[in-house]
Amino acid sequence: MKMISFRYFGAVLILFAGLSACDEVVIEPFEEVESAYSIYGAMELDSTLNYVRIKDTQSPLLADLEEIRDFTVTFENLDAGTSTQLSDTVVFFNNNPTLNFIINEVLTPRTNYRLTVEGQEGDVSTTRAKTPGVSTISLTPAVTETCLDDILIEFDNVADDEFIRFELGVQYGGSFFFGEVKSVRQLQKVEGSNKLAVVLNIKNMLVDVFPPVAEATVNVPPRFWNPTVNCNQLDNGVMRIRYTHFGPEWEVIRENTLALDVLESGDVENGLGFFGAKNTKQILFTTNGVPNNN
């Protein structure tokens, strides 16, 4: 019995020794169908310096600079047939580096551009953006006498696949406040033209700068809403309209400016993010309906 016991124990020890030769396995954390890079950028048509954030989606958040800088970025003007390799600028947030690539050229309206990111192992992400046209704004009348006077606001040269968002800016209490004008009425296409237009008064537009309390809007049509800061409380009658002309890629937010889900926009091929172009301008106009409270 002793010998049998010893043999069993010895056999077990030999088994254990053999098991020590088993190989280790490396973990592959990413699924095989991969998203290579993320691209986030909103080119400004009138700017000669635009920045695009690009990240390898398989690099960790806490990676070192050397680990994340292993790809090249090419910017092409598809209409002109030109191509430029972009250089980057590194911005650190909490000691964590991010790569932001510089588009350093004059952009032309209604031109197709393509941004391509290519890694050292041949993984590629690409996205396109078409710059919008250049629109101008006209106000009729140019100067109003009261805040309740209707103003015809028109934007011209807006293609069907483009749209405008605009904000009213006013000075109150020494500070400037802006609000996107959307509550009372929306811009509508003028039939038979490439114009967008809306008729509003200053009080209507103030509703979006100084929104009324929720209780005051229940069962009340928006055109009767009252802003929490009235016209006669403003510092002066000098107003700003800041408008952005969006290119066709921004369709995802045409109905709701908060709806841009960059993860599901589908804008980047084999990647994540969003890349588009816009044109932002600002004009001043005055009303005599505001006493000078400065």
Partner: protein, 767 residues
């Protein structure tokens, strides 16, 4: 509201009155007698657990048999008056025989002390009384100190935690975290009792240790499922730990040290054979010793202290126990997350069995609290606490010639949690658990049970039972039938079939972000009165066969169906608001145990095959998967488990080795890691963007398989009649296998379990 509360309490009181009025403790002919046998160790005056107690007729045939419980007591009920031969035996003790004559209607208490035996004697074994790897009866396994001693542990003596991990069907989260998943159930679905005191998490942050070293354990009953009516409030398993009394005859002490832990124990009589006190304390030192032993930081700290006052009167014994555990540490050294928990339990348990009592009575009262915290994630701190005041009574009786057990419990539970920052919608900080900033709730649960045992033949035992739980808040009552059966077709202990089935309800749930294995923080809360209640159905079949004198085998198949299991909602990214959805869990499994036992060699092989599958409505569970129902295997689904244990006596040395293998845990692969810049509103030069880790299909990957070999060799030295030195040297993970604890998605680095950990421990026992 006051009137409602009074009404509810009245209903509870009425139910209790019905229970004790309509179920008289005895309905039997006046000629039947009761014999209570108390078996004590002559050496230390402590109860002997699992001693075989058999009544033989004068003709020599066996009449009734049983095995002593954790108090050293066995009760024969409904005995015909007459003269019998009583035989008492236990491994390691001299056998005792006596003639007993019982008068009609007599209740007799027979007390005996067994001297220690020099050699093991042959004995008749009563089913379910022996411990050992193969001693499973429909999910129940009795674990003795002898079993625990066989498993190498880096501390002085053995520990229950290390032993449990060698059982098929028991899965841990790695070598840290203090979590045990038993046959598909989660840690929150387990009920752990220490001398009937509920303790939420008595396992230390290093999974190599628990609050139960072998030096204080008397016996452990582990029900991996299919537990009887006497246990309520859990839907997976029950671990019933019995602690031993302090030595009633002589003073003893022990000091021990190893690179992992130092400990001290002192016990002795305050009044010989009447009162004793046992105090034990342990403190970890691995944080200091780990770097030099393993070459890496081991930021784990834990300690525990236990005191036990025991008093034995004639026919009455009381034990008062106080337990406190403390754990702090980072289970992922690379992340700045500090986890911690503390258990505090104080209770008294009294057992009355004197001849003046027609029925023995078991009464327990006490208080238990659990406090946990997680600090550092998202730079936020969180706490979750439970406080439980409890009272329980267990009684026995007879009705229509059948013995029955019944009892009641009353738990007052107070839940308190502070989660994230207040007003997260203002600060912009995410609400991780979707429960709001604070949780403060109180519940009262009253439960009762009734079970009886039918023995149509000497070889067949059938135990049906029923458990009910009543919540004070809505006076809703659960209905939980239970059924257990054992059968020895050959009429001997060489072969046994067993079966258990039951329904189980749990009125408490725990929520965690299970996708983040770098944390073991749970938010405990009561099941809301309007919420679906977690419920389980268990079914277990078992077969045990002894082959020859040395080999024994046991095979069990089991099935668990769980409804309304709370799981974290699967958003694309972690760290956002996490709400719970409810999943259905199905667990199928098979456990096989083989044992070879000779005088010198103890060899076991355990194999477990199991599948755990969760399913939930995609609408409830997942924001972005386009199927109606989503089915997945959670992280504690380890398909195959294999354990081989060998223990061999070589002269005065004992060599132990255990090799463990399990399939890799499911984990969720990544789709991408990104910083989202919300163009056009955010400028990439001014905003870092929102960090997101986008998961792929949940749990569709598998980590590498786990395997580890632990070895040890120990020897005792008798330095003097009163001084004994125990020494042990060994190594955990002796061939330095790289086992993955989990994969950190923030750093894309795998976090490994500890490498090879050599150790040497010494224990000095002073009598």
């Amino acid at each position: 509201m006051v009137i409602n509360s009074i009404r509810k309490l009245a209903l509870c009181g009425f139910f209790l009155g019905v229970l004790f009025t309509l179920l008289p403790s005895q309905i039997y002919a006046q000629t039947r007698s009761t014999l209570r046998v108390l078996v004590i160790s002559e050496e230390d005056g402590n109860p002997i657990i699992g001693a075989n107690v058999i009544l033989f007729r004068k003709s020599g045939t066996m009449y009734k048999a049983g095995a002593t419980n954790a108090d050293g007591l066995w009760e024969f009920i409904n005995v015909n008056n007459g003269t019998y031969d009583l035989a008492i035996s236990s491994i390691g003790f001299e056998k005792h025989e006596a003639e007993i004559t019982l008068a009609p209607g007599e209740t007799r208490l027979y007390r005996t002390e067994l001297p220690t035996a020099n050699s093991e004697l042959g004995e008749v074994i009563v089913s379910g009384t022996r411990s050992g790897a193969v001693q499973r009866v429909a999910g129940k396994q009795s674990i003795s100190v002898t079993d625990i001693q066989l498993i190498p542990a880096p501390g002085p003596g053995g520990d229950l935690s290390v032993y449990l991990q060698t059982l098929p069907g028991v899965v841990t989260s790695g070598d840290r975290g203090g979590e045990l998943f038993i046959r598909g159930g989660t840690p929150a679905q387990n009920l752990i009792l220490v001398d009937k005191m509920p303790v939420i998490k008595p396992f230390h942050i290093s999974n190599l240790f628990s609050a139960f070293p072998q030096s204080v354990i008397s016996n452990v009953d582990l029900y991996a499922g299919g537990f009887g009516a006497e246990y309520e409030g859990a839907t997976s398993s029950v671990m019933d730990v019995s602690l031993r009394q302090g030595n009633m005859r002589q003073f003893q002490s022990q000091v021990a040290a190893s690179p992992y832990i130092i400990s001290a124990l002192a016990e002795g009589p305050l009044e010989t054979d009447k009162q004793s006190l046992l105090v034990m304390g342990r403190y970890s030192v691995i944080e200091q010793a780990g770097p030099s032993l393993t070459g890496e930081d081991v930021p784990l700290k834990f300690s525990d202290i236990m005191a036990r006052y025991s008093i034995n009167w004639d026919g009455f014994t009381c034990n008062m126990t106080a337990l406190h555990t403390y754990d702090r540490g980072k289970i992922n050294p690379q992340r700045n997350i500090s986890l911690g928990w503390e258990n505090t339990a104080v209770g008294a348990r009294c057992l009355g069995y004197s001849e003046e009592l027609k029925n023995s009575v078991d009464f327990t009262i006490g208080y238990s609290s659990y406090k946990s915290s997680e600090i550092g994630f998202d730079d936020l701190g969180r706490t979750s606490n439970i406080s439980i005041g409890y009272l329980r009574m267990d009684n026995t009786g007879t009705a229509f010639d059948h013995p029955y057990n019944y009892g009641f419990r009353w738990n007052l539970n107070f839940y308190k949690a502070n989660l994230d920052e207040p007003f997260p919608e203002i600060t912009g900080k995410p609400q991780r658990f979707g429960l709001g900033a604070t949780l403060e709730e109180y519940t009262s649960v009253f439960s009762t049970y009734l079970s009886t045992e039918f023995k149509p033949t000497n070889t067949l035992s059938i135990t049906p039972g029923i458990t009910t739980q009543i919540r004070q808040e809505n006076v809703s009552m659960t209905f939980e039938p239970r059924f257990r059966m054992t059968w020895k077709p050959l009429g001997t202990d060489n072969q046994e079939l067993s079966f258990a089935v039951g329904k189980y309800v749990q009125l408490r749930e725990a929520i965690t972000d299970e996708r983040d294995a770098g944390t073991v923080f749970y938010v405990y809360k009561p099941v809301g009165v309007d919420e679906p209640v977690p419920t389980a159905i268990h079914a277990i079949t078992g077969y045990r066969q002894r082959i020859g004198d040395f080999i024994e085998a046991n095979i069990e198949t089991y099935y668990k169906h769980n409804d309304n299991v709370p799981v974290a909602e699967w958003t694309r990214e972690p760290g956002n608001t996490i709400r719970t959805a409810f999943a259905t869990a199905e667990t199928y499994g098979l456990d096989l145990q083989l044992q070879l036992k000779t005088d010198l060699l103890y060899l076991t092989l355990g194999y477990g095959l199991a599948e755990v599958e969760y399913s939930a409505s995609a609408d409830d569970l997942v924001a972005w998967i386009e199927t109606d129902e989503f089915v997945y295997n959670p992280s504690h689904d380890r398909r195959h488990q294999l354990n081989i244990l060998a223990s061999y006596k070589i002269g005065k040395f004992t060599a132990n080795a255990i090799w463990r293998y399990s399939s890799g845990a499911p984990y969720t692969k990544l789709y991408a890691i990104d910083l989202i810049v919300r163009v056009p509103y955010q400028d990439p030069l001014q905003n870092q963007g929102k960090a997101v880790t986008l998961y792929s299909v949940p749990f569709d990957g598998n980590l590498p398989a786990f395997q580890r070999l632990d070895v040890s060799i120990d020897r005792k030295f008798q330095l003097s009649p009163k001084l004994e030195l125990e020494t042990e040297i060994g190594a955990i993970n002796s061939y330095d296998m790289t086992n993955v604890f989990y994969f950190d998605v923030n750093t894309l680095r795998q976090v490994n379990e500890l490498p090879m950990l050599p150790y040497a421990s010494i224990s000095l026992n002073i009598n």
